[in-house]
Amino acid sequence: MPQYLVAIQHPENYDPSLEGEAMIRDIGALNEEMDAAGARFFAGGLESASHAKSLRKQPDGTVSITDGPYLEAKEHIGGFWILECADMDEALAWGRKAVVACRVPVEVRAFLRIRPNRKSLSHGDSQ
């Protein structure tokens, strides 16, 4: 089934510790609803963008690591869902709910349907 990224766009300097109880409850309810619909493939929140590290390849071939997000922007991804939906319309319907629950804009993007790569699979490993 096609997969869609629903990315939560937090404003710069967003402080997750200030999220109200109602909002946490709404997001929890939305997660449960996605699970009950068999739609949620993955969900996770990210630490704030100020804790990000950015890596750039230097002309001499070395890789430099700097503190902070790669792009200076007004919004950064604060968390995301990966949903399995029949089509973009359905992903957008979930996106609408996400906007309401998270009180910030979200971005919905379809994953490219690339051929999966051969990966080794250990016996019964559940990771």
Binding site: E32, A37, D89, V100, P116, R118, L121
Partner: protein, 426 residues
């Protein structure tokens, strides 16, 4: 279709199950619940294009359905006002019902959805009724979509659904989650419905498979839903595992020209390894719950043997035979015996496979396998490997005549070509 109409369709798809489940908690009748939910949908189709899509479409639909329900209760009361005694009694009941609706729709609990699933898959219904009702009420599919997927006229499918609803209503089937032994029996029915839907999509029984592969996705979704709602039932996880493992091969099952590619010939780099992992995790969950020897768990374990092998030759065929032995013990079906014969052929050579196959056929009697094209197909394959080419040719021709599926016919025609080639070089 306009953007708004598309949005409404998508909203309906993700909201309808909860909507119907919540209303049914009060009406105790899934037919009426579905009609009320449908009424809300119709209202949305009228209003949203004009007034815009509400901020919370799900809650909006709930409120609209609630209003329709209370409305229809009041209308029912008007008709009965003549008989005052009865009317007062009814009024009281209806007020209670209206109050209950008011509360019920504020919060949908998973139990409502479970009750809906158990009712839609009630053994009192014929299997085709269960399937249609499940896809309609829990899968959120439109009647047209279901009709197209099952290659039946829309009218037929509509009748199937209304007959099923009528049966449930007339038999006063309680809207509840069964318990104890009854639960086990009813879970079995639910799982069978889901697996039949999956198979209908995964191996379309006739015609071209175009519209139908989405049924496999619908079934997977139902399976994931069930795993959430019934986390303690091992076979629920086992069926999910089986479906994930089978579906993970989807991309490899078609060649460049859309022709079918069988498991041994598949390009394993095309398998979806993320999905395989999910299947393995679900299988482990089933085993952890102590259900490793149950039918779906055994079938999933067999699928897992295939998925773990880097090449067809590396498959642990010994283990596959053992698992089929165990499966035959609890489910002595000719089809299981046939699959076991294929595995025996891989372990001990085609002659042993042929013996096992013919023994299975004798045991089953002619009638059980009479219409089953895989029997001559497997037999032909084993005979070819043994170099008995003219017998092999006859079997494959027999198989071609028995299947309606175009892809399968192509596949068998290719096998026939291989046999001709082998005969030429012999």
């Amino acid at each position: 279709m306009s953007d708004v109409a598309k949005t409404i369709e998508a909203v309906w798809k993700i909201e309808s199950t909860r909507l119907i489940a919540a209303i049914a908690r009060v009406t105790r009748d899934i037919g009426i619940a579905e009609e009320l939910a449908q009424d809300a949908l119709v209202t949305a189709l009228e209003l949203w294009p004009r007034e815009g899509i509400p901020e919370n479409p799900g809650a909006w639909l709930m409120t609209a359905a609630k209003r329709r329900a209370i409305d229809s209760l009041r209308r029912g009361r008007m008709l009965l006002q003549k008989h005052e005694e009865i009317a007062r009694e009814l009024e009281f009941q209806q007020q209670q019902l209206a109050d209950a609706l008011e509360h019920s729709l504020d919060q949908v609990i998973d139990d409502d959805i479970l009750r809906l699933i158990f009712t839609a898959c009630h053994p009192i219904l014929p299997m085709e009724g269960r399937i249609a009702l499940t896809l309609r009420l829990i899968g959120g599919l439109a009647t047209t979509e279901i009709a197209r997927a099952f290659l039946v006229p829309e009218k037929t499918l509509g009748q199937r659904i209304s007959r099923a609803k009528k049966t449930l209503s007339e038999a006063h089937v309680p809207f509840e989650t069964p318990s104890g032994d009854e639960l086990r029996r009813r879970v079995e029915s639910v799982l069978l419905v889901v697996y039949l839907i999956f198979n209908e999509g995964y191996t379309a029984t006739s015609g071209d498979e175009w519209m139908r592969s989405t049924l496999a996705d619908d079934a997977l979704r139902l399976g994931r839903m069930l795993a959430q709602l019934l986390p303690g039932e091992s076979e629920v996880h086992a069926l999910l595992a089986l479906m994930e493992l089978q579906a993970s091969r989807s991309a490899a099952r078609r060649g460049k020209n859309g022709e079918a590619v069988l498991l041994p010939d598949q390009d394993r780099s095309l398998w979806d390894y993320a999905q395989i992992q999910r299947g393995m995790t679900a299988l482990e969950q089933a085993q952890r719950l102590g259900g490793g020897a149950k039918p779906y768990a055994l079938q999933a374990a067999i699928a897992a043997c295939h998925m773990r092998a880097r090449t067809a030759e590396e498959t642990d065929w010994d283990r596959v035979v053992l698992l089929y032995d165990a499966l035959l013990q609890i489910n002595p079906s000719p089809i299981v015996a046939l699959n076991r014969a294929v595995a025996v052929g891989m372990v001990q050579g085609p002659a042993a496979g042929l013996d096992a196959l013919d023994a299975a056929a004798t045991l089953a009697g002619d009638s059980a396998l009479a219409g089953y094209h895989l029997f001559p197909s497997v037999r032909g394959d084993l005979l070819m490997k043994m170099g008995r080419l003219s017998e092999a040719r006859e079997e494959i021709q027999r198989a071609i005549a028995m299947t309606k599926n175009l892809r399968e016919q192509e596949l068998l025609a290719n096998k026939l070509k291989q046999i001709e080639k082998a005969a030429l070089s012999a």
